[in-house]
Symmetry: D2
Subunit: 157 residues, 4 copies
């Protein structure tokens, strides 16, 4: 029972309008979770977003590595803001569900989550995000991969 075809698609690589860019950044800045972790929104374009999370005791599991739940939250954010760039003007987005597979344990350095839109429907937006670990030398390891369903919702703040 698949979905009806989409009416429009994302155009990855296109810059956002200043208003869209500001709306996403304002939303990100309001997230207590991201603020308390010291995460930052490091890239943003039509259909794509990148978020970074430095390693700290705030995000570790029992062996000192990045917690899988922190990777999941970061991937959720990256996919969600990628989706927001293709949502109708003035709309926020909300996550319906996500699924994440963990590929490697990583400690130190930082996590980089890159989200991108697979399908931009009017009612449903489907995204993926990949989480990479980046060590002090800039070497990246693929840590996790996520698939996510998003819906546009009216902004309420």
């Amino acid at each position: 029972m698949p979905m009806p075809s989409a009416n429009h698609h994302s155009k990855p690589g296109t810059a956002l309008s200043p208003a869209q860019d500001a709306a996403v950044r304002a939303s990100f800045a309001r997230q207590g979770l991201m603020h308390h972790w010291g995460a930052s929104l490091t890239a943003l374009e039509h259909g794509a977003a990148e978020v970074r999370l430095p390693h700290s005791e705030r995000v570790t599991q029992q062996q000192g590595s990045f917690h899988g739940g922190a990777m999941g939250a970061l991937a959720d954010i990256a996919g969600g803001y990628a989706a927001m760039t293709v949502a109708p003007d003035g709309m926020e987005v909300t996550t319906v569900e996500y699924k994440i597979n963990f590929l490697a344990a990583c400690a130190g350095g930082e996590l980089v989550a890159r989200g991108s839109v697979i399908r931009a429907g009017k009612r449903i937006i489907v995204t993926t995000a990949d989480v990479f670990h980046r060590d002090a030398d800039g070497h990246e390891t693929h840590c996790a991969t996520m698939q996510q369903t998003i819906v546009p919702v009216p902004k309420t703040y």
Copy 2:
């Protein structure tokens, strides 16, 4: 291509041995993420675990509600420790993947995540966890439901 049948099953409701109970609590206490959030492990028995997370600015999204990523991390923890109670003695567990659906937005009060084991195989443990919001009057709302795959791994600390 389904999995071969399990050789043993969880017996929900059975108390853990003091050694098992201590091992799970020691693992939880080592998680920087849970400590930073002020989360606590509030119930533990064979095949089941409950974790609570008070509302604070550390776990909010842009509208002041609990962040979906925080719900996901809490569900991951509840399912993971439920799995650890059925893993072979002396083993830790690690999350292979999880999938979470969000059912309601919730602010204030606390989140209660209850994980339980569906299948305890030698190589693969399958769990579910449900996340409830609990307000000041003790009223519970179902916020999220998760399905998770876990593997036992040697303890390395």
Copy 3:
């Protein structure tokens, strides 16, 4: 980024109206896949549906057991028709996504998939389905568990 709260919930155990019951059965009867497999819709109430699939060469994998993909399709159907019972009158439903964990391999006998609605929102319906194997003696084994996202859509036939 969780979803806004639902406005109504399913009332499992309530009988469907004759019109609703007929609409679901008419939709099922139109599914070539179910017909080809000899599957049948064996129970239907508000928020719940049960579908059965007899073992045959049409649904096996390389070792003669039920194919995981067949279990997935059966679970998708059971969850989807459970959702259709709570959709607005005259609406069909379509699957946005599902995730299924396999718990045991099973051959012979029949599969019984039982779907039920977890959250019946206006825009998004969340369901679960469990797949059991039933042998000649009526003994049931839990084979698979699924979590699913559904949207109501206009009926086009």
Copy 4:
């Protein structure tokens, strides 16, 4: 709680040994589900597999399009055989779980599912598969995207 790092990785694009190629094709040929649908294994290399399914009444849903459950089964197969190409010699594989998002409804023509390995661990193999609809003119539409967890298992036939 992420997984320990993988010890080896897939080398997409490398041809299989004749023995590996024959083992995958023999396994596929034994699948009653694929045989009765008229599906075929159309490409195979180290870490990747392609499977095709022609449209017929055997695989339709209530509106005459390809059934989502059939797309799911096809994606499961494509990901599973991609995984088998990186499993240790003489091993079969079994699906632990998969999650699929549907992107478009498609009728007529054929479905092409392309699976590839994301992480080839000793104990856990993670794959993705994308399902495309191919019409009579060779035009492809992206219908579904899947994420999957696989384990190697001893061959029992």
